[in-house]
Amino acid sequence: MRKSSRIGLILLAVVTAAIFLLPLVWMISTSFKNDFEALAGNMNFIPKKPTIENYVQGLQGELMNVPITRWILNSLSVGIIGTTLVLLLNSMASYALARLQDLPLRRTLFSMFIASLMIPGVLTFLPMYMEFNTFNLINTYYALFLPYTAGAFGVFLLYQFFISFPREIEEAARIDGADKWQIYSRILLPSAVSIMVTLGIFTFMGIYNDFVWPLYATTSPEMRTITAGIAMMAQGSYVQAYGKLMAMTTIATLPVLIVFILGQRSFVKAITQSAVK
């Protein structure tokens, strides 16, 4: 490529990237402004009177009288519990589907799981709500992680990995007297660490960022996840307290942003794997 067109290309990339990053930078910048400056309609990225008051209040649970630390702890807890369950259940199931030939209805089960990937969430949303409601589980932690355990994406992803695992290693272990559980937990799982990390990041981000379900599955302020909580604020009368609101969204985004940047490579791998198939 000619040098001039290469420079033009880089310039274009820089401008586009600036547009993409601007809202996030603006969010962080506004979070350090007092409410008066945040509403002034200026375009300064460096606050005139920088303040960390929005954060101090937020982390002390005083910000707009909402328990923001509780919300973040809720989100982190259900994210970690849900992800652990998904990893455990999906890896066991896909191990059986990929390696245990004597599993009854093996093909039927596998096709059923894969077909379920086609099902839009709107089909199960309302009946799932009623189901949890019947057992008085709306507004409990159970409602915030159990629904995610039904997803078949992880089964599909791990199946791809387990099916291509060399048979010789498994045979050798069996001759040494290892049973199925030992083969699963001591041989297949340790070899699947990288794909499990991928699935873990994908699942955690999905649960932490999920929006519609936690919005309806929680009813009291202290049970909200951070996404549902912020949505409630955005609809309430606090909507123009931008400095405080932006401090909350910055705190809310931090955990998932760290996971995202650290795990970006694996995250991309998970997406592209599903695209190729």
Binding site: G41, L88, S116, M130, Y208, N209
Partner: protein, 296 residues
């Protein structure tokens, strides 16, 4: 290898926990949803009267409340799909091409920049853009006023509300499409381009006759996932425009959830949800067939 019933049992035990979750939180809700949709199912009452297909019939009977709720919502959703999907595909591919042609060292960095907004949640995205679009203090209108252009009522005026919703969606989700396209571009063998260069093909020619055909399967995937995602639009109009101005951005999912949780009529809401799900599945199958048959 001989298999005993004990062996089959232990094999089954590996699948059983997931199968239980699958049945409880996916299979059963689907069937239960059909049951609910055939009843007058009020959220707070205990008795549910069986009404057969009445809700479905009402949805398709012009003049009824359910009919206007469903089809007005569907029309708003369809508009969003029509405005957003082509841009999500074309601009997603354009971004991927841009990243692909950057020097190797910069690629990862810029891919991260474009993908970063995808990491924020729906409500964070909405709150950021509520502030960006604020008609007085918002960043965008501040820029416009500096340029002596009158501020735009982004979220409260037609057609700006649609433009705002599409812009927000592009910012938030296009990184996903970009990543998939960028990966597909990496897989196109370099020799194809070299051979074409020797034959004297220009950049456009190479794109049209090498790049596009090579990434066709990925294009299909992006098309289907983007259409489904746009069909499921909820958070953006729910939080940014609140369905307004008027009811113009009251998309189907807003109407379904309002019917279920505001008016507490779960029966008819479920009927609408089932129809919406069927529509999504039909469209994905149709798109799948369309691209498959073109290949042959």
């Amino acid at each position: 290898m001989k298999t005993t019933w004990q062996s089959r049992l232990t094999s089954s035990l590996f699948v059983l926990p997931y199968l239980l979750c699958f049945c409880t939180f996916l299979l059963f809700p689907i069937l239960y949803g059909v049951y609910i949709s055939l009843h007058n199912f009020e959220l707070l009452s205990v008795d549910h009267e069986f009404v057969g297909f009445e809700h479905y019939i009402k949805i398709f009977t012009p003049g009824t409340y359910l009919n206007s709720l469903f089809f007005h919502g569907l029309w708003a959703t369809a508009q969003f799909v029509i405005y957003s999907v082509p841009l999500l595909i074309v601009l997603g591919l354009a971004l991927a091409l841009l990243v692909h042609h950057l020097p190797g060292k910069l690629r990862g960095l810029f891919r991260t920049f474009f993908f970063l907004p995808y990491a924020v949640s729906a409500s964070v995205m909405a709150v950021i853009w509520l502030m960006m679009f604020d008609s007085n203090a918002g960043f965008i209108n501040s820029v416009l006023m500096k340029l002596n252009i009158q501020g735009i009522p982004w979220l409260t005026d037609h057609p700006w509300s649609w433009i705002a919703l599409v812009m927000t969606t592009l910012w938030w989700t296009i990184g996903f499409n970009m990543v998939i396209f960028a990966n597909a571009l990496n897989e196109v063998p370099e020799d194809y381009y070299e051979a074409a260069s020797i034959d004297g093909a220009g950049a456009w020619r190479k794109f049209a006759s090498i790049t596009l055909p090579s990434i066709r399967p990925v294009m299909l995937f992006v098309m289907i996932t983007s259409t489904i995602a746009s069909f499921n639009i909820y958070a953006q109009p729910f939080l940014l425009t609140r369905g307004g101005p008027g009811d113009t951005t009251k998309v189907l999912l807003i109407n379904i959830l309002d019917q279920a949780f505001v008016r507490k009529e779960l029966g008819s809401a479920s009927a609408m949800a089932i129809l919406m799900a069927l529509l999504i599945m039909i469209i994905s199958i149709f798109q799948f067939r369309l691209t498959k048959s073109r290949k042959e």
